[in-house]
Amino acid sequence: MPGGKIRVVVAKPGLDGHDRGAKIIARALRDAGMEVIYTGLHQTPEQIVETAIQEDADAVGISILSGAHMTLVPRIIELLRENGAEDVLVVVGGTVPQDDADELKKLGVAEVFGPGAATGDIVDFLRGAVPA
């Protein structure tokens, strides 16, 4: 969306309730001037993709610490594709081992942010990666 604010869906798939990171990121992105939609917890890939499409999101930030990233993230990417929304940028944050992060990037994830990532770096990344 030219000239508009970047729209980001911050999503929590999986059954884990670790939402400290997702909330910090949501707030940091909002403070950086982005439109942020936070899905809340325990979302299915279907629910997340539906939200992303309904909200006309530029990016989806997936926060996952349940260890199920290799099941749930590929499913989200697949569903985005099936719904013609493959232009939505997918970013992942959480406890993701390096091998898995490499694999997810091959599948189309733009970046994986691990524990300790600075919110400023995530803001900069989104600004750079979302076409203006």
Binding site: V10, G14, L15, D16, G17, H18, D19, R20, A22, K23, I24, A26, R27, A28, V36, Y38, T39, G40, L41, H42, T44, S66, G67, A68, M70, T71, L72, T95, P97, Q98, G114, P115, G116, A118, T119, G120
Partner: protein, 551 residues
Amino acid sequence: MATTEGTGTDGWREELYEAKPERQGELFSTISGVENEPLYTPDNVEVEYERELGYPGLYPFTRGVYPSMYRGRLWTMRQFAGFGTAEETNERFRYLLEHGQTGLSTAFDMPTLMGYDSDHPRSLGEVGREGVAIDSLDDMLTLFDGIPLDGVSTSMTINSPAAMLLAFYACVGEKQGVPVSALRGTVQTDILKEYIAQKEWIFPPEPSMRLVVDMIEWCAREMPLMHPVSISGYHIREAGSTAAQELAFTLADGFAYVDACVARGLDVDEFAPRLSFFFNAHLDFFEEIAKYRAARRIWATRMRDKYGAKNPRSWLMRFHTQTAGVSLTAQQPEVNLIRTAIEALAAVLGGTQSLHTNSFDEALALPTEHAVRLALRTQQVIAHETGVVNTIDPLGGSYYLEHLTSELERQAYEYFDRIDKLGGVIAAIKENFFQREIAEASFRYQSEVERGQRVVVGVNRYQQDDERDLEILKIDPALERKQIERVQALRARRDAAAVEAALARLREDAAHEDRNLMEPIMTAARADVTMGEMCDALRGVWGVWRETPVF
């Protein structure tokens, strides 16, 4: 230094301390943001010894809950473990017992925590990942295979489906020939902190509270050695709260359970001695020690004076501690050994009854055996090599520590007032009060880190570019398949009529508020009804909880 003599702390401060500039950049407040003076002395700290501190084993228990503390018996070294299926975790349990651990602590996987069987569609990819998958009594029998339950105490971190897991445990005892009344351990069961912080819930707050009270009532009668609730601040802190919030929200939850039991008609001295607590041990050393001491004093004071408990055992707060997972870094992970050691030392100096030390690789994955052994060794070094166990509450009387203890206590009472004004804990949960307070604190801390006002070694200072890969534990994805086959095989071979009858009775009793649900749950467990099926039956009667997301 003659100029300052006789002018006390103020004189010292003006003439000497302020003569030199302070370091700039990093904050001098505690990690939670409590302001610190440069020096505490009798001029700015007042302690009424007998009333505020007293003696170990005596009201108000500030100095410790037992007269002899660690000179009588060391704390229980209890490492939390669970992954894969019951078979893998049974092996890890035996490994820990062989290496000198003195109690068991079970981590369940996410589907179990949320009340889904392993073959439920929501469980896909989550089975056995962050804990052990337990669907039925059959799984529980495997989990404790070769571990006689009369010889261990077992802690189970389970909340929404706590009643089902307690029933499975009781049934394992029955099958091993150990009377239920002889089983020892702790079930977490603290549903209030789930809504506040950990977010593994099933039912709405009111029926959830009823189930908690059912368990407390049933345990008081049938399982007197079991702690039916472990009122937990750990997860509140992990969600990003301050130490004072952890203290205040946990105790507020504790009082809410007491209120609920009293409303059921139970006598406070009948159940209060079996309530236990669970706190975090974070990095701000003195603040943590102060937190444990303040917790004991507040609990004792309110239980005696507000709830009229007469049995001194109802006044004393026993607690488990776990070092702060949230303080671990993925960067230079070996440094986590040092963080954990310092946190564990704070827990011991704060008088904990049992302790879990995190493994250094836990910001990356579940721990390897090597990492777990080092974590256990950390406790053994503190217990046997440092000498801190030789004197009870050795830091008691430190001007700084006594000041901080009183300050955290004051902040907790302030929160109690705010919660009361909102209409109590459940009303405050529904208004997202706790969730907002925690999110605020967590964002403030993160901002301080990003501004460099708080240093995290290896993250925002002393970084290292050439970090080598650490060997981490991988959970075999085949285990999920294996567990799904297990639960489906069980469904195929059990007595379907008995299952239907047990579920019908559970639904019927759940619809009547005056019936205790533990008996029908025990009956269902014996009939091989799965945990997910029991939860589904109750979902049908009570509905499910949904949170309004805030950030």
